[in-house]
Amino acid sequence: MDHEPITIDVEGRSVTASPGRSIIEAVWEAGHVHVQGVGCLGGVCGSCRAIIRRADSTEVKMVLACETLIEAGMQVTFVPFLERLSDHPYQIDSFKDTWQLVSQVNQTFPEAAHCRHCGGCDSACPKGIKVERGVNLAVEGQLGAAGDIFETCIMCNLCSHICPEFIDPNHLGLLVRRVVPSLVVRPFNLMQRLNQLERGELYFDYEAPEASTEERD
């Protein structure tokens, strides 16, 4: 392996680091402060998204900086946590009437009906979610199918930032996921246990032999 240091351009700063470093590690190794826009460092939180252009490439890509290795001449700009451009506040317990569910979802996210089908959300999604399809299904009222599409969403908000119609797709996706358990899911074993607890049928024995420490301590 080549051990010559590599220089990249990060937001106008020249950053020199050892090969095999991720973009974030390189910034740190070069002595720069970088404490915002870093999260799990494991590729699941979406904090460290960046736009890069490799040397001699015309392609500009969106990547996660914690898992993208540096290459000589690479240009990098971090995409900071941008303020939301639109906001769709709701309280989950205000969704009460299942007959009104679809219209209430649409009232909460009125822009969703204006989707212009640009596909920008799909190309921005680091998880490869069919965001646009999910939005369209939600508008049609296929809430279950829409929710399933957003199952692996990490809420990085990239689709919300890119959406030219201010739909907030990932938040719509989360709402349609939330309403189902909130209103409908009542698992049998959980209900049974809660009833037992309510009736005081489960007592507690601190001094049960199995809880004893004597032979262990």
């Binding site: 106008g12 240009q75 900071p80 212009r116 640009c118 930032h161």
Partner: protein, 417 residues
Amino acid sequence: MTNQLNQVLLHENNQVGSNLEAWLANGGGEGLQNALAAPEAIIKTIEDSNLRGMGGAGFPTYRKWQFVLAEKDAEVKYLICNGNEDEPGTFKDRLLLEKTPNQIIEGALITALATGVNHLILYINPHEEKAVEAARQAVAQWEAHPLFASVADSLGRPLTLRVFLSSGLYIGGEETAAISSVEGGFPFPKKKPPYPAQHGVHGQPTLINNVETLAHVTHIVKHGAEWYRNLGVGQASGTKIYSLSGDVLHPGVYELPMGTSLRDLVFEYGGGMLAGKEFKAVFTGGPSNTILTSEDLDVALDWDSVQERRSRLGTGAMIVISEGTGIVKRVTEYVDFFADSSCGQCPPCKIGTRQISKVLRKIDTGRGRRAELDHLVNLGKLLPGSGRCALVDGAVTVLNSSLDKFKSEYEAHLIDR
């Protein structure tokens, strides 16, 4: 000097609104007659006139036409007369459409004869209601006029002429976006190739010309190429409509000989700077080009001369700013415009323009540091070419140019200057 104002397109005799009879009575229709007499000669005349696209690109009109003419086998060809006009500082097309729709339609018919297009679409920004109304009335009159039938006969194919309301979005003015729009969809720019001349509206050869370009065609074919060339100053040909705005006494639309100097436009016709302030800069050709400064006041406002200063004539918009106006704030506004206009298809464009805007705003509101300035330079290098259309490039051009010419003004805003 003022006798050079509004000689052709905006001549008072031509400003008859949608009234076709009045247009024909004032000498309209002659160009079309000439074209009908010798359709195959039109392109040569346009070539000799040096006419170039007035919508911003400045591409030689005759060459665009040749590409479409070359598609001999196509049964159907389209002409989109582009009057979408939604860029800050440009407000000439709406005036042409409102005051002189007939010369645009006549130009379109001449174009049809020259290139074989048979579906003519007046593609107009719906926010310009007067322009839409005038165009509609004019179209109705043309359709009923024998000249229209003559053109159809000459083409040997069915001829249609209609007004199409664009989305009113800036992006809809881009050629391929206009095609998407006419096809009934959202005005998304498309990847090139294929080029519109081969594969445009519904896959058919399509020509897209700015409405001002078409208006010029009418007069060129009427008076001849040499007459047209001689209208210009020096090497430049014809006239140009400049949209003058910003910190000048008399903002407005000025048709002047191509090649009129920036100084004359601002100080003679525009009445000089507002409130006696010093001239500082001009956003040439709208907000997506290189900024010119007081050193450039003597530049001739024609394609080549402006290009020699590494800027572009664009639509002919001249947004003038005085010493009292902040460059950073202005550039921020324009980048915001691009960010809002970005259609969403290409993540680097949408997010990149927003990012520039965010960093600019930080500097403009006194929260920026040297690192932010460096970041702008980085964005200016990273983003160009990252979209399928040139929108992001426009934002980057104005950013880079402002950094190049007014670095000290940026620096003055920094906390750690």
